[in-house]
């Protein structure tokens, strides 16, 4: 079952409905990676840039 973020697992009787905030809907840390809060594209772009540190042939120094 694939759900959109800010959506929930199936509600169980007597259980509180849980919601999961999307990762990009958070404020970036002061000393950490930067993206525009709420903008999924900017978050994905910085994640992909960060991933290049795993690629020594194209490594960027963070």
């Amino acid at each position: 079952m694939e759900v959109e973020q800010a959506s929930t697992p199936a509600q169980q009787a007597g259980q509180t409905v849980k919601r999961d905030t999307a990762a990009w809907n958070n404020e970036p840390l002061a000393a950490g990676p930067k993206w525009t809060k709420g903008d999924r594209t900017s978050w994905e772009e910085q994640i992909k840039r960060r991933q290049l540190a795993q690629h020594e042939h194209k490594r960027i120094y963070q």
Binding site: T21, A23, Q51, Q54
Partner: protein, 214 residues
């Protein structure tokens, strides 16, 4: 659209367990729970040892999600498979279903008492509020909400363990395999799965790298 995956390059893994340590430290995983572990085959056989770091693979069609009787699993739009510990009843079905042994249970009590299932979250936390204490206590660190990648992949000493967007992983792995002359792809190919001898033993050519699959 990012689709989060792991891939462990068996040609590079040196069984340092740095990924295991990083995960345990970052998420304060309790004793007895091994969200990530390194499996070595042909241990002690010189030249034939292969190690691979295994945790939840965040399957596109997750069997754990399919068998859960209380439907506590969900998948984020990035493809990360997570679960809600408040709904989990500790039945263990997901453990039986998972081909990687990813679900872990903190207790081994009487009458099959297991406790709430715990597993690798791709450092994406859980349904509690992002970066909250409640989320950290239950699910560990939410590094994706901080714009980071899982601790295991970022800490890998040889960059054997790749973690992040599947397309980028595929590019990285494809370039590595091409640079070292197709070495390593045979561990993932159809030839290995269906009994053809590996390349170099007079067998079939290795299949495409795993990153090409969904």
């Amino acid at each position: 659209m990012a689709r989060m995956k792991f891939l462990c390059d068996t040609e590079r893994c040196i069984e340092c367990n740095g990924c295991v340590t990083a995960c345990k430290n970052e998420n304060e995983v309790p004793w007895g729970v091994n969200r990530r572990r390194v499996v070595t085959i042909n241990d002690g056989v010189i030249g034939a040892e292969k190690s691979i770091s295994v945790a939840c693979m965040h399957c596109s069609d997750a069997p754990c999600m399919a068998v859960c009787p209380v439907d506590c699993f969900y998948k984020t739009t990035d493809g990360v498979v997570l679960h809600d510990k408040d709904l989990c009843i500790g039945c263990g079905y997901c453990f039986y279903a998972c081909p990687f042994g990813a679900p872990q249970f903190p207790q081994a009590g009487a009458f099959g008492l297991r406790g709430k299932m715990d597993k690798c979250t791709f450092c994406a936390g859980g349904p509690e509020a992002d970066k909250s204490d409640a989320e950290f206590k239950k699910y560990g660190r939410n590094r994706l909400a901080e714009g980071k990648l899982p601790a295991c992949a970022e800490m890998c000493s040889t960059k054997a363990l790749l973690g992040g967007d599947g397309d980028v992983i595929a590019d990285i792995y494809r370039e590595r395999v091409a640079r070292r002359g197709s070495k390593g792809a045979e561990a993932w190919g159809w030839g290995s799965a269906y009994g053809q001898p590996p390349k170099g033993a007079g067998g079939a050519a290795p299949a495409a790298p795993a990153g090409g699959k969904s």
